[in-house]
Amino acid sequence: MKQNKQKTDSYYHHLTRNMLLTIIIVSVLPTILISGIVLYQFQISYEEKVHAHLKELVLKNKNDIDNFLREKLDDIRFLGNTFSFEELSDEEFLQNRLKGLQQVYGRVFVDLGVVNSKGVQVAYAGPFRLERAVYTEANWFMKAMKRDYFKSDVFLGLRGLPHFIIAVRENWKGEKWILRATIDFVAFNNLVENLRIGETGFAFILNRKAEFQTKPFLDLIPAREPYMNFLRDPQEFKDGVRIVEQDDSFGHKIIYVAAVLKRGDWLLVCQQRTSDAFSDFGSTTKITLALILLGTIGIVATAFVLSKKMVARVAKADRETELMNDQIVETGKLASLGELAAGIAHEINNPVAIMVEEAGWLEDLLEELELKKGENLDEFERALKQIRTQGRRCKDITHKLLSFARKTDSRIQDVSINNLIEELIMLSEQRAKYSSVTIQADLKKNLPTVRVSESELQQVFLNLINNALDAMEKTGGNLTISTRMEEGNIIIGDHILIEVVDDGPGIPKANLTKIFDPFFTTKPVGKGTGLGLSICYGIIKKMGGSVEARSVIEGGTTFTVKVPLPKPKKENA
């Protein structure tokens, strides 16, 4: 029994687990797949958008810087072309030109200088004392002498401050000379420094040697290595821009966007941490993941509750089916036993009739005078009487057996159960008094009538009452009969429930399962036939009702009878 229960429990446990897993897999897997795909697509689009944005920003700044440099070069060229070496060698004149330029551009032009072919600065206008400065060995000078114009890298030079030079080469009387201007580093630096993106994005300019031409943001010196790569690979620039993602020396993933300036001499680089560039995407991803997680938790919780409930229902349905099967088996068993009993009763009736008739014949003969004088006449009479009595007992048994199989009066009529029970209590009261049993009735008023055979129902309750009285014959006690309405369930519709409760010695558990079987009795031989309860069972089953017994040793027995109410007639439409 215990093993069976364990088996059933493990079956329901498996069922719950399978149901739970199925619901979770079917609900969660598609959600995760769809979310993953959408998130991936979104990431690609977002990356494209971020790159496009950075590219546009860098290109715009590149143009601005290019324009700045071109503009300044054009101005110097104009000066060089318009004025002669002599005119510009006049320092006052040169000073005026510088003032003119500074009026237009502010402090962008720091100074102007005229340098002859030997590298000597013949005239100088500006804040430093660089008159007669010699640039023969200066890198910029050597380069400037070879070209029409030249823009230097940023260097410290003689003045010891970062600056760069724009120089124009001119000819005067067969001699080359150079007009050079110094561009203020701060003004130039502002062009780049103002380019700020997000929290970590900034820009700077590098030369071919990967030297910084502008001051990087917060003086952060990025590792040189990545920028060198850009310079080494000029073919990789599409639309003049190259985008690379790499880890920096701190292990942060960085997006680098580079554009060439000064015909490839300089590189405008804009860098931003990937996490910063994708911060919006990151927060969207976090929200999405949180929602998926919450949804999953919700699904799992629902699946858990749902599967528990479903399995509880299945278990209930199984129990009800089992109960119904038990009842079907019980009914079938009783029906076949009933048929057998009826057959036996028929067969026994004839021999008994013959025995009784023969005994009667002997009694008739004993009436004759000569036999009346016999010595053992009393014994003969007693024996014959006994035969007759036992014959009658056989007749009673067979009659009961037959009424178990076929009811004597099966006329169906409206019966008030309360009236019927009150009559039975009145009938039984005398007997109860002798057994010191108090009969109490707890009958719910205004109960509807049932459509059954009255005599059969009477037989059922008389039997139950008699059994209870028999049980309490020696000890005395209380017998309570109660009635009430009860709503229907899967097995039986709306019905009247009758309980016959005694506080007698109770029925042992081993016997409780057999009490409805025919011929089962615990009464002394000759007192009970063992048919009463099985007849009750048959009658109640035929009515579509049920009868059950519960018992506690020394605590009494309760018989619960359920008699179904007639189904309501459909009203004519």
Binding site: H346, V352, I354, D364, K395, H399, L402, D409, S410
Partner: protein, 141 residues
């Protein structure tokens, strides 16, 4: 006192019962099946009451009762059943049985029923005779 036909397939029962009835001044004829009973009635017109077992092989008590009522309407029939059921009783009564008794039956009860049946039969006969006499006298007059 009365002429009775006892019909039952159980020979020992018929023997015991007929002995007891004879002892009570009943003139008894016996038979062990329905057709045999009909033969006896055909031959012996003095039979007033037939005691008929319901359960018999072949032609059962109810069929035999039908035949008796058809051919010998003046013979009263008491049915003997192994078990008293309302259905068998009602069916027997519908077919004109006088009464039905349950096996094994009390001799005193059976004797009572027999007396009543004979009395009924005789009243019936008297009425018929009266009616006949009346008919004859009116015809003559």
């Amino acid at each position: 006192m009365a002429n009775v036909l006892l019909v039952d397939d159980e020979v020992p029962f018929v023997e015991a019962m007929s002995r007891r009835l004879k002892k009570r001044d009943i003139s008894i004829v016996t038979s062990f099946s329905g057709p045999e009973a009909l033969d006896v009635l055909e031959k012996d017109r003095s039979v007033e009451v037939a005691i008929l077992d319901v359960k018999m092989p072949g032609m059962d008590g109810i069929e035999t009762l039908g035949e008796i009522r058809k051919k010998f309407p003046l013979v009263e029939v008491i049915m003997l059943t192994g078990h008293a059921t309302v259905e068998t009783g009602i069916e027997g009564m519908k077919l004109g049985a006088f009464d039905y008794l349950m096996k094994p039956c009390d001799m005193d009860v059976l004797m009572g029923k027999l007396k009543e049946a004979v009395a009924k039969k005789r009243r019936h006969e008297e009425k018929i005779i009266e009616a006949r006499v009346k008919e004859i006298t009116t015809r003559r007059a």
